[in-house]
């Protein structure tokens, strides 16, 4: 149906210059009597006769809801309705190979790469090397490190606004953590219990400090830090494991995040504890929640603990 000329125009190779500048432009304008809109001086024209032609060339702007677009919008809608993408956990049945998490101490196995990816990105990717807290993004990790493990930060924070809004693109900074939290709640409508903005608990626990020193995290000076510094070495231990002591103590809408129960269906893969970090808390005869070393349950990530300063 297309003219051969048209086809040729569109399929010409790139060597041909198709620039519109190369096309000669016709001269514009009409002869003195040659326009539809000039009034004839002919005696045929009556006085006061208006020229009935009204068309003038003009561009047409169309809003998205203009009826001109209706058919196209229907096609778009049908396209979306009919679209069903691949399964969210598409298991390649032909491939029997397994994926194993290579992080030392985490021996989880997966039967598809997406599962492994998700596991790795959730638990191992943005992990603070000081306190092993796992965060969902690079930005939140950077903020965490800066605010909790950078001694310079606390010094600067005394003089200027250092606490960044957690939202990318906001750009505001605040003098205190509480001010930042108020901003998140009031301006950005975040919940007051947003998991990734929980205050770290302060703990005074000799056992914890001892364990920390044994671990050799490199924070050898942390013990001598004054109270209220940004270093919270004792958090290390308090975070790792908080077994549920008293279910009745929980507020009604809090839920214990116990991920391993021996009788649970296959979804919760038991992760063996590492032995290179002593954990005195385990021997308390509570319901044992086996937790991989690399998962940090502290800083409020265990939903059951709404109170402050839980002491062991």
């Amino acid at each position: 149906m297309l003219q051969p000329e048209l086809i040729q125009l569109l399929t010409v190779n790139d060597l041909v210059d198709t620039s519109i500048d190369t096309i000669p432009k016709l001269p514009v304008g009409f002869s003195p009597k040659g326009s539809l809109f000039c009034s004839f001086t002919s005696h045929n024209t009556e006085e006061g006769e208006k020229i009935p032609f009204t068309f003038t060339p003009h561009q047409i702007l169309l809003h998205k809801d203009h009826e001109f677009f209706e058919d196209g919008d229907i096609q778009r809608h049908l396209y979306l309705q009919n679209l069903s993408t691949y399964s969210a956990d598409d298991l390649p049945n032909a491939r029997p190979c397994e994926f194993r998490c290579h992080i030392s101490g985490c021996s989880q196995v997966f039967n598809c790469v997406e599962g492994y990816e998700h596991h790795y990105n959730t638990l191992h990717r943005h992990v603070c090397s000081s306190c092993q807290k796992s965060l969902p993004s690079t930005r939140l990790l950077d903020i965490h490190i800066q605010e909790w493990h950078d001694s310079l930060f606390s010094i600067l924070a005394e003089r200027q606004d250092m606490y960044q809004c957690l939202l990318e693109g906001c750009g505001l900074k605040f003098r205190t953590r509480e001010q930042r939290k108020d901003h998140m709640i009031n301006i950005h409508k975040y919940p007051s219990d947003f998991r990734f903005d929980k205050a770290m608990r302060t703990k005074k626990n000799k056992t914890a400090r001892k364990n920390l020193l044994q671990k050799g995290t490199g924070m050898e000076e942390s013990i001598s830090k004054p109270e209220g510094s940004s270093y919270r070495p004792e958090e290390e231990e308090s975070m790792e494991l908080q077994p549920a002591l008293d279910p009745a103590a929980y507020p009604a809408d809090a839920v214990e995040m116990s991920t391993e129960i021996p009788s649970a269906p296959p979804l919760s893969v038991p992760i063996p504890l590492t032995t290179n970090q002593p954990r005195s808390q385990h021997n308390r005869g509570m319901q044992s929640h086996r937790v991989p070393r690399t998962v940090c349950f502290g800083q409020g990530s265990v939903q059951g603990f709404r109170g402050r300063g839980r002491r062991i």
Binding site: H58, L62, Y79, H119, C170, L267, V295
Partner: protein, 465 residues
């Protein structure tokens, strides 16, 4: 419109008695499970996995799930928790809830999930990110409250960061662009949402994803193009869009697609990409005087592509053909450059071929021809040489009064510009046509015909040379 990430194993909806029993049993289990979770007796994760199976297999159970006290809190707890599998299952639950057609499942009720869904957009897992994206996207239509909340919670920078992180993963790019299109296609979007999107640095990413990947398919390009269309036709700041290369990119792609179409390779769904591109170009042409836009409109093949689209899609998608000619209208209206090019490249016969077709196509074609004619005598002469006069003799006989009116306008310009054209028209038995039109029921048509007969087609006029 909502989109669904379908788990291929779970898309059956049963209607048999057996299925009803299973439904009731499972829903009872889920209810018991949820209340057990709330009182912290049972693994929340198991509950969540059971819930997602339930919800995806029995979408009819969604309202009852929502009515269960604490069900959303359980899901949010798992969504925000540290266990990857629980997060994934909770996200799946929210996804099922988000695209439910049940009126009771109000997206506003899912709002506790949004801070986490948005936070996870900066993560690195492509599949999980896709899930979060489609969930957020599905919550947007029909709920202004949700869109406002998302805006305030920073969804725009999070989406921009997401498309930046995952720019080589086309499935995620498609999901991000779709989510953006849901955000900016609302009627109120021009207030705050669109300015935020325009300022976010998203446009270069959209533009670079416009060219379809031959292996992956058209999906990402389609979503980016529709997103751009909503941004362009809101007319909030089209100058910025042009400055960032939107017009250039869209026209280049249309030329490429025109070439494909001319060769006969029209892949399935191509019209869904061409449609929004046409609309972007059509509206962006009004963002400034055409002379200023010239650097973005250098390729003369654009004109040929527009004609080709109109001809190829004439039968299957006449509305697309009409929109293609609309873009031609916006190109030729104030531009002697493009009008000259139409004549020089001999594209007018192709246009004339479209005159017999209704649904707004012939009136739009007549507009374009009128645009060209209005530039001057030379243009009129060339149009006549391309066969326009005889074509007008046909359109003047049509029933549609708008077509007749436009035909008279164009004819008027032709015969007024040069007496030879008037002569030509008479030779083609034009006079009896006009005389018949003098009895047309509409006055506006009658007076046009009369004016032509009296002022431009009388023997006296023709003699005066």
């Amino acid at each position: 419109s909502k989109r669904l990430l379908v788990n291929e194993d779970e898309d059956e909806e049963g209607g048999t008695m057996d299925t009803m029993f299973v439904f009731l049993y499972v829903s009872a289990c889920v209810s018991a499970c949820v209340s057990a979770c709330v009182s912290a007796c049972v693994s929340a994760c198991a509950c969540v996995q059971l819930s997602v199976l339930f919800l995806s297999s029995f979408p009819v159970g969604l309202p009852s799930f929502l009515r269960q006290q604490g069900s959303i809190s359980v899901l949010v707890t798992n969504l925000s928790g540290p266990h990857p599998q629980c997060r994934l299952e909770a996200a799946r639950c929210f996804h099922e809830l988000s695209h439910s057609p049940h009126r009771e499942v109000d997206p506003w009720r899912l709002r506790q999930a949004t801070p986490y869904l948005i936070t996870y957009l900066s993560g690195q897992s492509p599949k999980f990110t896709e899930l979060c994206l489609y969930t957020l996207a599905n919550m947007c239509p029909d709920s202004e409250n949700v869109r406002e909340l998302l805006l305030v919670q920073g969804v725009v920078p999070a989406l921009t960061s997401c498309i930046q992180i995952h720019r080589y993963n086309l499935a995620v790019v498609e999901a991000v662009a779709f989510t953006f299109s849901q955000l900016v296609s609302a009627n109120s979007a021009s207030g705050e949402m669109i300015p935020a999107v325009l300022a976010s640095g998203l446009i270069p990413h959209l533009l670079s994803a416009l060219t379809p990947d031959p292996q992956f398919g058209l999906g990402p390009a389609i979503e980016c193009a529709w997103c751009l269309h909503y941004l362009c036709c809101s007319n909030v700041d089209n100058g910025t869009l042009v400055a960032q290369g939107a017009l250039l990119q869209c026209t280049s792609l249309l030329v490429t697609l025109g070439g494909a179409v001319a060769k006969g390779s029209v892949m399935e769904g191509l019209e869904l990409l061409i449609w929004p591109l046409l609309r972007c170009v059509g509206n962006l042409l009004l963002s400034g005087p055409l002379g200023a836009l010239q650097p973005h409109l250098k390729d003369s093949r654009l004109l040929a592509a527009l004609i080709a689209f109109a001809q190829v899609f004439l039968r299957t998608h006449p509305a697309l053909a009409r929109e293609s000619i609309w873009v031609l209208n916006n190109l030729t209206a104030d531009s002697s450059v493009f009008s000259s090019a139409m004549l020089y490249l001999n594209l007018v016969p192709g246009l004339i071929q479209l005159l017999p077709f209704s649904e707004g196509i012939n009136t739009m074609v007549l507009r374009v021809l009128g645009n060209i004619a209005h530039h001057g005598r030379e243009y009129c002469v060339h149009l006549a040489q391309a066969g326009l006069l005889s074509a007008l003799c046909a359109t003047l006989k049509m029933a549609d009064s708008e077509v007749v009116t436009f035909s008279l306008e164009v004819l008027g310009q032709l015969v007024a510009s040069d007496t030879q054209l008037a002569d030509e028209f008479i030779k083609q038995s034009g006079l009896p046509l006009l005389e018949a039109i003098q009895f047309n029921s509409q006055e506006t048509i009658r007076i046009r015909a009369t004016h032509l007969l009296e002022h431009h087609l009388t023997p006296l006029c023709l003699v005066r040379n």
